[in-house]
Every structure is written in structure tokens, then in C-alpha cells.
């Protein structure tokens, strides 16, 4: 599958379809797989595909240094592709200018990451080119499975949950790795960076950390695709996935909506209906 990926990318670069392939490569310094930006056909052999390809590369489409490399092809897993769809729906990327290489994926991490346990997008949708085939042995995905962790968490008492979040968020140093890896965090000026006047305290105190993480979670409501990059990136090991799951669950239960799944579905934050049962909308 890796060879097929390399051949595909070599061809895209050779025939001029794209000027850069955003993909995964083996780090020179250690055993990690890191994002690579391949601009020459002869470098296509640097591309790798394995279960350590954690990063959601969609974020790089929003970075000007990458955009400056020219027309791009991007390698995505099924979960990453959902981010592309949301970015397209929110007019952040021009899908017609992008070549999407879908990588069939049986999950990443050893053991598999939490998101992979309930994955129903092993084969990326709406890809221009799909490489590989997902195993038939992947466990079936259900809504129960998707939200099992948050449901278990919600069985705790409010006091227990508050104690949990206090302990976890007390470690947040506001490095904003969660924001920087998130494909949905593309505001030109993040609300925490507004300083005339300050909207959210820049202090990494418990209060400031609650303000930041709650605000961020709300901004992701109905938009977060559950790629869990924030959780992976957090140097303090805070399980931000739990916050996102709780909002994803609300979106699915109340609006039958899952971000980045259905190209025909109106985004719940970005659309309104006269039939809405809330009065304020009319």
C-alpha cells in the first residue's frame, strides 16, 4: 500500500497535477512519523504509511507557508477527511483546487487510539484517489460505541466531574497545542489573543484554563470531527476528547448531525430553519 501511495504521488508531481504532496514521512532523528511536504517526484519515496501516521494533515492546508508551495495533494485518513469536508462547507478551502488521497486505515496507535475503536470511516469518503483497502475485520461502529466514554463519565456525580476537570485543567499551561493542531481552529485572531480589551485571561490559572477550554469546546460544537489531535498534542495529557465527545453527542442526539459526515447536510451552527422549535429564530 505504501508503494502504491508513492507511485500515485510520484505521478501527481510528475504530470504537474500538484506541486506539493502533504503526507507522512519517517523522522530522521527518531522513530516518529512526521508530516512531510514533497515537492519533487524523486522524493516521493520518503512517503510512508503505517499505524503511526497520527497527524491530521488537514491543518496544514490553512498554513500560509504550506499554501505558498502551490497546488496540493493531501493524504488523509477517514477521520481527517471529515475535517476537509467541514473546511469546505465553511469556505476555508477550495476543494476543486485540492487532490485528496484517501488512505484506507485500520486504525492508528498500538494499542489503537480511542477514536479508532468506534471508527466508521476506515475508507475515507469523497477522496479523489483511494489507496489501499480497509480490513473486513474492523469492528462495527455504533452510536453507543461512539459515546461510551462520555456516557460512563456522565454517570459520575457533578462533584466528581468537577474534581476531575479541576485536576486535569490545573496542568494546562496554555501552550495552545490543542488550538494549533485543530483543523477547525482557523480564526484569524483567536479570542484568547484579543487584548484590546482582553476577552479571556491569558493566565494559565485554573480559572483562566476553564475559560479557555470551555470556550474552545463551544466553538467546536457541531464542528469537531473527533480526530482527537488536541488530545494527542496536549503535553499535559488532558483528555480533551471527553469535552468534544459531549458536544458531538448533543449534536447527534438533537440534530441527527455529525460534523464532516454528510456533504448534503447543513452545518448546524451555520444554518437555520424556519421550522426550528425555538421562537427566537423567527
Amino acid at each position: 500500500m505504501q508503494e502504491e501511495l508513492r507511485q500515485t504521488c510520484r505521478r501527481l508531481l510528475t504530470d504537474g497535477t500538484v506541486q506539493v504532496v502533504i503526507g507522512y514521512g519517517q523522522a530522521a532523528a527518531d522513530d516518529r512519523v512526521v508530516p512531510v511536504f514533497i515537492t519533487r517526484p524523486e522524493d516521493a519515496d520518503q512517503l510512508v504509511w503505517n499505524d503511526r501516521c497520527f497527524a491530521n494533515l488537514a491543518k496544514y492546508l490553512l498554513r500560509k507557508e504550506v499554501a505558498a508551495l502551490g497546488r496540493a495533494a493531501i493524504c488523509v485518513k477517514g477521520c481527517d477527511q471529515r475535517a476537509l469536508l467541514v473546511l469546505e462547507q465553511e469556505s476555508q478551502i477550495d476543494r476543486s483546487q485540492l487532490t485528496v488521497i484517501g488512505l484506507a486505515c485500520d486504525g492508528v496507535g498500538e494499542p489503537r487510539q480511542a477514536k479508532c475503536q468506534s471508527c466508521d470511516v476506515h475508507t475515507p469518503r469523497q477522496a479523489d484517489i483511494t489507496v489501499g483497502q480497509a480490513s473486513a475485520g474492523n469492528p462495527p461502529a455504533t452510536a453507543d460505541g461512539r459515546y461510551a466514554e462520555i456516557e460512563a463519565f456522565l454517570k459520575k456525580t457533578p462533584a466528581e466531574r468537577m474534581a476531575y476537570w479541576k485536576a486535569e485543567l490545573s496542568r494546562c499551561v496554555k501552550c495552545y497545542a490543542c488550538r494549533q493542531v485543530c483543523p477547525m481552529c482557523y480564526c484569524r485572531q483567536c479570542i484568547v489573543d484579543k487584548n484590546r480589551p482582553v476577552v479571556i485571561s491569558t493566565s494559565a490559572t485554573l480559572k483562566g484554563n476553564f475559560a479557555w477550554q470551555i470556550t474552545r469546546a463551544f466553538h467546536l460544537a457541531g464542528r469537531c470531527v473527533g480526530c482527537d489531535e488536541c488530545t494527542r498534542a496536549c503535553p499535559a495529557g488532558i483528555d480533551l476528547r471527553l469535552l468534544n465527545l459531549s458536544l458531538a453527542k448533543a449534536a447527534e442526539e438533537n440534530f441527527s448531525f455529525r460534523a464532516g459526515m454528510d456533504p448534503a447536510a447543513d452545518p448546524i451552527i451555520g444554518a437555520y430553519s424556519q421550522q426550528d422549535h425555538e421562537e427566537f429564530i423567527r
Binding site: A27, A28, A29, D30, D31, R32, V33, V34, P35, V36, F37, A55, K59, Y60, R63, K64, E65, V66, R171, V173, K174, C175, Y176, A177, R179, Q180, V181, D193, N195, V198, S201, T202, S203, A204, T205, G208, E229, R232, A233, P235, A236, G237
Partner: protein, 332 residues
Amino acid sequence: MSELLSGTAIRPWIERLLADGKRVAGPQRVHEDLVQYAWLTSADQLALDGFVRPSNSIKEVVFPRHEQLYGYQFKGKRIELLPAELPTKEQIVIGARPCDAAALPALDGVFNWDTQDEFYNRRRELTTVVTLACGAYDAHCFCTSVGLGPGDVRGSDALLIAVDDENYEVRCLTDKGRRLFAGVTTESSAVGRVMEGPPVQFDLDKLGAFLAGGYDNPAWQAAAMRCLGCAACAYTCPTCHCFDIVDEGGPSGGTRVRNWDACQFSMFTAHASGHNPRGNQGQRQRQRIYHKFQIYPEKFGALLCTGCGNCTRNCPAGLGVLPILKTIAPTP
């Protein structure tokens, strides 16, 4: 003769320090796969083995992520300043890695260069650092490439070296260290042996030559392409020390506080005019390397990097000092 501390004596000793009202910090297992330096509330929380190094650094004991400098109150047209209280509690770091302790002399230089920072200096005076010689290293460690090693004593008040599974040799290095261990150790003939560090992974001379002429080298942008512009590297780095000063308050008054800041944020150098002298990530990564390996050394005569590898370990994109320096200044 050497001084010996038995593994079983460590925890009761820490309990006594805590009972005496001292603040004690050390590595703690926060989650199954996460160890961080943190203030201990019980000696049982201390984790001394089974990991390479904590994912954060000990700088926070002398340079907290958030610190109140003073308060202010508006009184009509007058502003009344309310001095913040300086810390008074003695604090002890136990089980610090040599690459953490070595950062403290580097920080001393910065916080005493043009002004003497009374908050930093007070915390530093109150702090005793007990290092533990490393028992393991990983692919991200590069202390030997910056002139340090698993048993380096820079910035340390006492060094512990494992003798066997049960005992540590204690080498007291300063008066603070001797005071802390007075009456705690026993004399012995057993001596600890410090392991060898990781192989040298880049060439400092080559790096110096590259930096001298490489300011506009395209290597910076190439290396920084995968950088996402967060501060996971800087905030977990033992030596990174940039901060921002902000006012937090309302119409009647507030507090002036110092919060960590980092050069990888685009906001770090953004001017009010909208201009940004470091307009892309390549320039920001270049700044980080130049600061550590040229600007700081020129001013203070030492490197601003201890080779701990936290930048890479914590980087969501696997970047950091080592991957960059291995590219621009490879060993022969």
C-alpha cells in the same frame, strides 16, 4: 567513603520535609503514560524510576507560568500600588534530571542581567535542587551533544546516584545540599556509577559556522514547514523563559501579572500596526535556535539548551532542537 540514602528512607524523609511546611516537588505519575514534575502532597506520589524524564521541566518552581507582580487600585485620579507578597516557603525539588538543574544557572543569567528579578531570585534562594543521575535515555535525549551528561552536577545542590535497587549514593555539592541531607544519610563504602549518555548527535562547531552565515538559509523554512506554531516546545523546555506582562482587572483596579509567552506564536512579535517582523514560521524557528545557540551564548557564555529533548518529545509534529540541528550540523 560515600554517603548513602536507602530507598526506603526517602519517603519518610520527604514526609518529614512536608510536615515541616516545606514545598516539595518531584516527578509524579499523572497518568499511565505521563510523568510530570509537580508539587507533592504525599511522599507516595514521588516516582523515581520507570521513565526517562518528566514531560515538563522544573523551571516552574522558580519561574511559575503565572505570577502576580503587584496589584493596583484606582482611587479617584490616583492609582495606589499594592505590592505582591514575595514567597517565603522553602522549596525542594527531588529527583530532578541533570538536564533540568543545568537550566537554572542559565536562567540566573537572564533574570539578573539588566534588573535583578526579585521574584525569581527569591524563589531561587528558597529552592534546593536534588538531582537524580539518569538511569535511561531515549531517542530524544541529546545532553552529550551540548556538553552535559547523565550525571552532570550543574545547578544541582546534591546528586543522587543509584548504587543498586535499594540505595542511592548522595553527593552533596553545595551548603544547601549539605544542610538538606544532614543526619539523613549513612556512611558507606558503596559508590554509585553514572551511566554513559547518548551518543553525540550534532556538531557544535559546525553549528556555530552555520549560524554565522546561515541567517537567510532556506533550511529554516524547510525545517519549520511542519511546525504548527504552538508553545509545547517552549513551555516544557527547562531553559525557555520568555514572558508577557498583562494587566488583569476591572474599573476599580486589578493585578499586573507575568505569564509565560513563546516565540513560536505569531502574536509574540506582532506589532500594534499589524506588521510582524517574524512573519513566518521559518523565521520563528530560526529565532528559537539562534537564541539558544548564538544570542544567549554571546551574552552569557553558555548554551541555552541542556539537551533534555522535551521540545521534540512534546511536539505534535515531531520537531524540536535535535531534528533541526541534526539536519544543519550533522556529526561527521
